[in-house]
């Protein structure tokens, strides 16, 4: 291993093609990213279906976990969207579980962090913003654009204020994508850098190893927190679109 030269801590984010598939010039290969996304979805499906198989009135441990995750996201949706937000619960639950499982699976060594790629988080953020805008326009028609003109502002301020509001609205998917991507990438890069120190120091590698243990705790918290924040912000944006401030 030492003869291969220096490995960069950024090598773990390389997308490797597992099964090359070419559709008329477009590369739609099955990559390690695809594999781990499928693993995350399979993990969620197995977790939810197998835990709920017994349907006991007094839940056992697995059923309690499944019910807790349902209740947690339901609480988030209820708090931010009100009672009429119930129809958005499946979307919020899917978003939360997918991001959480993708983040959590990446904690295992030798796996691949799906959400550490900007394209994946950007796809999720674009999905959210398109959904929110579409929901707003379907519900309010063209009156949806009154979102960009706050109440009680004199009309001559509009040419200054409206572009600013539009810009801040468009900054939402950017910040959603960047936040998740930067958190995951920074966390995993730090883990790799400290792992490099452990190898370098030999017996003195105990110290960076202790740091890695603490970092793993932090990364587990971040995995959950980032999924929660993504979901909460999605619900807040949906609330804005549905109730126009």
């Amino acid at each position: 291993m030492a003869a291969e030269g220096h490995h960069s801590p950024l090598e773990q984010f390389e997308v490797k093609t597992l099964i090359p598939i070419d559709l008329g010039g477009v590369d739609v290969s099955f990559t390690n990213a695809s594999l781990f996304m499928i693993l995350a979805v399979a993990g969620i499906l197995l977790f939810l279906t197998l835990s709920m198989q017994r349907r006991a009135l007094v839940p056992g441990r697995w059923q309690a976990m499944a019910e807790m995750s349902y209740e947690f996201v339901a609480g988030v949706v209820r708090d931010n969207l009100g009672p009429e937000g119930k129809k958005f619960f499946p979307f919020a639950f899917t978003l939360f579980m997918f991001i959480f499982f993708c983040n959590a699976i990446a904690l295992v060594p030798y796996t691949f962090a799906v959400t550490s790629h900007l394209i994946v988080t950007a796809a999720l953020a674009i999905l959210v913003i398109v959904l929110v805008t579409a929901v707003g326009i379907v519900k309010h028609g063209l009156h949806f654009f009154s979102l960009f003109m706050p109440k009680g502002v004199p009309i001559y301020m509009a040419p200054l204020l409206v572009p600013l509001e539009v810009l801040s609205y468009l900054a939402r998917p950017v910040s959603l994508a960047l936040r998740l991507f930067a958190n995951l990438t920074a966390g995993h890069t730090m883990l790799k850098v400290f792992a490099g120190f452990v190898v370098m120091l030999g017996i003195g590698g105990i110290a960076p190893l202790a740091v890695i243990v603490v970092l793993y705790g932090l990364e587990t918290l971040i995995a959950f927190l980032q999924a929660y924040v993504f979901t909460v912000l999605t619900c807040i944006y949906l609330n804005d679109a549905l109730h126009l401030h």
């Binding site: 950024l10 988030v76 708090d79 910040s175 960047l178 936040r179 930067a182 958190n183 990438t185 920074a186 927190l225 980032q226 929660y228 924040v229 909460v232």
Partner: protein, 74 residues
Amino acid sequence: MDIEAAKMVGAGLAVIGLSGVGIGIGNIFASFISSVARNPAARATLFPSTMLGFALVEAVALYALLISFLILFG
């Protein structure tokens, strides 16, 4: 100036913004602690907002780190 040296200086300058983030996170949790100290019953309602605020402020830290990495490795 050597381009490598300039990159290092740029990366170092980019992370100065993290001082603001430290103040921000301290602010959020100071506010949470003093609110719970005044009204311990509010702990359950305030905790999710605290976590949300923390994640949002941390995101700014990571934007600064991202710029620093882009300068250093880009």
